[in-house]
Homo-oligomer: 340 residues x 2
DNA sequence: GTGCCCAACGGTACCGGTAACGGAAGCAAC
DNA sequence: GTTGCTTCCGTTACCGGTACCGTTGGGCAC
């Protein structure tokens, strides 16, 4: 019945007080090495396991960092999470994740629940939370980092890059390549506000160049290679004269590439395909596609670091760690483009 | 200072006792609707936010389900996590994830940390934890589900499929296709014990068919499309006569396919490529590859369900929810093969 | 021996909730 | 009026740790 062993049991067995046992287990000061050893030995024998819940309540803080992402089927967020993991490894902090499925209501519930755990920090995706969620985020005393996007008004900290600049940058690169007949393929733009922002930036840049007509094929489903194939087929049937298509992400673009290979359109000579994210896979494809390499691991790392930093400064001095709107750009969207 | 509002404050403001306020907030019985409404109104006005830490300590349980996966860069685990999310949505439980990076020591620390949170359940990947981890898992009173693999000796619950059977099944299918010169490409077999098991099953089935020579190209790095390309090139240089290559997963096989397309080997006519997982992408490739469709979302769903079920039964009756070794096969590895 | 200091340990009061039980008020049946 | 049952709410005692402050005792200077 190891699960019922409490610190008091250990203390009793070691013939010391709970307090001493507590100090011994935590490696705190004011305990003799001999006592530490004895207590730890007995704890191990008894199968004692610390109780974080009680400890957290006692000192009014947890070691948890809440991470809110919209989706797990998108490899991009897995990589962000991976970066977070790596950055806080060894700091004693522990990330815990939640998924919204791009649903604002679910996001609200999730943030609420996470805050109820009194986390050491919160990392949320995007800048476009709805009002009630935003209110929660600004009311909490824990540091909050909004990631992936810098086009907007952060609650506290912010790590990411400009999505509109990414879209615009790609458009500019494609114009430089001499293309003029632009198309667009996207998925779930109603929920994925970042993809929508890229599209806006793309269209705006084209407009500046005098290009106003941008045929699009859009679907409200989660994006996949298969969707990319189908939507590209649709778009090219309607507009066979396109010489470039911008996709809301790499998966769709890869589907587009496979479609072109099937029906014999030469990529990139006749048609340039441009995706977004710079997945590893894009470097190995049978034909080159353009893409924007997002430094998503870095975003995770920097986001975690900024929480750690906030904690370090809060621990040392008095200032109550006010919310300070700070935007950190981890990449220049225009310089990260892999052209073809 | 919303973060300092406590239930006692709410109770005082509402002119009731802490206990009544608690009941009102939780929607428990024995409170008049009028009181509930008043308390909740005041709680909202004061910006009161429940404290899960305190609540969990008080009733000695949390709503957390710990999930331990080896990697996040592998889309497979993201899909498992996604399945878990969906299955427990609405149950009030909350998953929290941890990543081991295929490191047994890190896995041990992670499991320990998670158990310190007294979770409502634990889901860990694989059956091959090291001894100290296994000890933790069998000592805890929380339900433990081991997933992805059924070739071994589960601690408690188990949801997955036989990895060796998957490897063997693929070999048998390829034999039926009339192939005789088998190769193998794999990554990180020392750490990814499931991939290693598939390889064993594959070789054993070939051996039964009288095929003992299976040239391999193996690398100890995380697998990627680029690795698949490189390793395939290596293997085919050494053994140009192969007529089938089995890969430890789809990513590598896709890399292999791209290599073949580049150097003009016809797939699948001259060379069959076989991967593993049945990623969506494999259905959209320019040339067909064989694969085994793993039902990873289902594994997540069933794992979560079995924890929920255990909880339901524990809540109703007296039996202290003993560890009962139960293996649930969510798929038949031999029937899930997509041949070419 | 006295005074002083510091290392090592213990007592107490929490942290913010909740379970269990008790008790007052209101109403029906006898 | 008494009994008995609800309905609604309060009191008490924790849950398992930790912060804070106090206490003890042994070593050292004088």
């Amino acid at each position: 019945m190891h699960s019922k062993v409490t610190l008091a049991d250990v203390a009793a067995a070691a013939g010391v007080s709970k307090m001493t046992a507590s100090r011994a287990m935590r490696g705190a000061k004011d305990v003799s090495p001999k006592t530490v050893e004895r207590v730890r030995k007995i704890a191990a024998d008894l199968g004692y396991m610390g109780n974080y819940v009680a400890a957290s309540l006692a000192n009014n803080r947890t070691d948890l960092i809440g991470v809110v992402v919209p989706s797990l089927s998108n490899i991009v967020f897995s990589e962000v999470m991976s970066g977070i993991e790596d950055a806080i490894a060894g700091s004693g902090l522990q990330p815990f994740f939640g998924v919204t499925g791009y649903d604002p209501e679910r996001e609200y519930q999730l943030v609420r629940k996470m805050l109820s755990w009194r986390p050491a920090g919160l990392i949320v995706t995007g800048l476009d939370q709805d009002n009630q969620t935003r209110e929660l985020l600004s009311a909490t005393s824990a540091p909050v980092v909004q990631i992936m996007d810098t086009d907007g008004d952060p609650v506290d900290l912010c790590v990411g890059f400009s999505q509109t600049a990414a879209g615009a940058g790609m458009a500019e690169m494609l114009l430089t390549e001499g293309r003029r007949r632009f198309g667009y393929v996207g998925c779930a733009l109603d929920r994925d506000t970042r993809a929508a922002k890229r599209y806006l930036g793309y269209k705006a840049a084209l407009q500046s160049a005098g290009i106003t007509r941008v045929p699009e094929a859009v679907r409200n489903a989660r994006s996949s290679v298969a969707d990319g194939k189908a939507l590209t087929a649709d778009l090219l049937t309607q507009h066979p004269d396109l010489d470039v298509i911008y996709y809301s992400n790499d998966d769709l673009a890869i589907g587009g590439l496979f479609h072109c290979m099937e029906i014999g359109i030469s990529v990139p000579e006749r048609l340039i395909l441009a995706g977004f994210n710079g997945l590893d896979l894009t470097a190995s494809l049978p034909a080159p596609i353009a893409t924007t390499r997002t430094s998503r691991r870095n975003i995770g790392i920097e986001a975690a670091k900024s929480i750690l930093k906030r904690h370090a400064s809060a621990g040392s001095s008095a200032p109550p760690a006010l919310k300070t709107v700070e935007i950190q750009h981890v990449m220049d969207a225009r310089q990260s483009i892999t052209s073809i």
